[in-house]
């Protein structure tokens, strides 16, 4: 009876979903436990901060400056329909700091870093390097995963802070050069409208996104199977799931800060 087959398929998919969620939750719990218990690996954390943060600066900076500039032009167009051209500075800074800085930076970093982490840990898995770690009495969660999670969670807010500043600069350049707005007035309105809450909510998002980026890279890498093909699949899955989770948690966090 096809009716039952449909139900069976739905049930099967649902079970698979629950299974994956359970597996991920357990992985996350184990990882978190190892993040907060010694020994720590400061050398590894520092290396990862460089790789995740410093080397993401160019791509994040470029994204931010163009986004800020485009935002200024678009808001000018939209705003001029109800004589609100004067609010370009305010809208740019709020949109940038609260929303676009964290989300766009996180999506860019997800593409760069989740994939790199998944590929690295996945290769270590399929070449038995993770097994080798265990036989050297070193816990892979401690040595590989915790440093990446810590580094990404600490680095993303810094990266987003820089993205915010560059984004506002991009808006400023477009507004003063292209739209001919008054530089002093633009800057003043930008600074005056900004509230501490805008910055802290944006940076909190950034920290969560950083955690998601590293977690997805580690999770998919750690569970990769079967050679180069498996590592390739892990890399793709890491980027896709990280991006989706970033967008999902962006809504959840925004809703949370809203209330």
């Amino acid at each position: 009876m096809p009716r039952w087959n449909v139900l069976a398929t739905i049930g099967h998919v649902f079970l698979l979903f629950l299974q994956a969620t359970g597996k991920l939750s357990r992985f996350t719990a184990t990882s978190l436990r190892h993040c907060v218990t010694p020994p720590f690996f400061p050398r590894a954390i520092f290396t990862q901060m460089l790789r995740i943060g410093y080397f993401s600066l160019p791509v994040v900076g470029l994204t931010a400056i163009f986004t800020g500039a485009v935002l200024a032009l678009q808001i000018y167009v939209g705003g001029s329909r109800f004589n609100a051209e004067g609010f370009v500075g305010q809208v740019v800074v709020i949109a940038m700091v609260r929303e676009l800085g964290p989300v766009l930076a996180a999506l860019m970093v997800a593409g760069r870093v989740s994939s790199a982490i998944a590929a690295e840990i996945g290769t270590m898995r399929v070449t038995e390097q993770i097994d080798a770690l265990t036989t050297l009495a070193t816990n892979p969660f401690k040595y590989l995963i915790a440093p990446r999670l810590i580094a990404a969670t600490l680095t993303m807010p810094l990266l987003v802070l820089i993205a915010d500043i560059i984004g506002v600069m991009g808006g400023y350049i477009a507004a003063t050069r292209r739209l001919g707005l008054n530089a002093g007035v633009y800057m003043e309105s930008t600074v005056n409208v900004l509230e501490l809450d805008d910055v802290t909510s944006g940076l909190t998002k950034a920290a969560v996104f950083g955690f998601i980026i590293a977690l997805m890279g580690c999770y998919h890498g750690y569970h990769s199977r079967g050679g180069a093909q498996g590592v390739g699949a892990a890399t793709t899955n890491a980027v896709v799931t990280a991006s989706v989770l970033i967008l999902l948690f962006n809504y959840v966090l925004t809703d949370f800060f809203f209330s």
Partner: protein, 256 residues
């Protein structure tokens, strides 16, 4: 079985991958300071047996006692404590490709024995010399080495912490005969002089004869023969006969 005195005692070990039953009840016992060699055809589950003992694979059934402790039921810190005195050479070397050769060798010393880096480095150079590697490769990346050289670095890494129990998965595969002889010597020395208990997997009968106190043969998921190394030529076991002489005709089915 006198599991009380054995360093490693395995009984009824089973392991399947999906519907493919690889181990169907492996029984093995290794006494303290003994060198056991496992021989057997390709794909018969030798590496899987090692990985079960090391806890890298979870066995489906059976018992694995290391120093009388059932390691299949241990987890977390307790398991790590048992593993702290175990060394392993992987069949594919499994070197950390993000670290230079010397740091691979010094890894266990730095991470689990908390030895200062400088001292660990000196010790790594010493062990590398023991496995016949020149000083100038210590700074190289594992990817820059030949397969045989990687194998020797893996061997150096396995013995650097002077563990009580060492597992060697095909230590001489890919090495020239002289180097193989040298590695065999090194393994014998570990057992005789340092009192280590070793379990070695090999296809190389010359090497097996040189390093083994006891030889076990695995076939179709079970240990079908186990005896003193000297007895292997007079075993009268048709499987052993066929294996050690490399004959095509005999009871061992190649498609197994």
């Amino acid at each position: 079985m006198t599991s009380g005195s054995a360093m490693i005692a395995i009984s009824g070990l089973t392991k399947s991958f999906g519907s493919h039953a690889v181990l169907k009840g492996v029984d093995l016992e290794i006494s303290r300071g003994e060198s056991l060699v496992i021989i057997g055809g390709s794909g018969t589950g030798k590496s899987v047996t090692l990985k079960c003992i090391l806890g890298l694979l979870r066995p489906d059934g059976g018992q694995i006692l290391i120093r009388g402790q059932d390691v299949t039921r241990l987890s977390g810190a307790k398991r790590e404590a048992v593993m702290a005195d175990v060394g392993m050479l992987f069949q594919g070397a499994a070197l950390f490709d993000s670290l230079p050769v010397w740091e691979n060798v010094a890894f266990g010393l730095i991470q689990s024995k908390s030895m200062p880096r400088k001292q660990a480095k000196a010790r790594a150079y010493e062990v590398l010399a023991q496995v016949g590697l020149e000083e100038d490769i210590a700074q190289m990346n594992p990817a820059e080495l030949s397969g045989g050289m990687q194998k020797r670095v893996g061997l150096a890494r396995a013995i650097a912490t002077t563990p009580d129990i060492i597992f060697f998965d095909e230590p001489t595969t890919g090495l020239d005969p002289i180097m193989a002889g040298m590695i065999n010597e090194l393994i014998v020395e570990r057992v005789r002089e340092l009192g280590a208990t070793t379990l070695t997997i090999t296809h190389d009968m010359k090497s097996a004869r040189q390093i083994a106190d006891k030889i076990a043969m695995i076939y179709q998921g079970k240990i079908i023969w186990c005896g003193a190394a000297g007895e292997i030529d007079s075993s009268d076991n048709p499987y052993i006969e066929q294996f050690i002489h490399g004959e095509i005709a005999g009871p061992i089915q190649l498609d197994a």
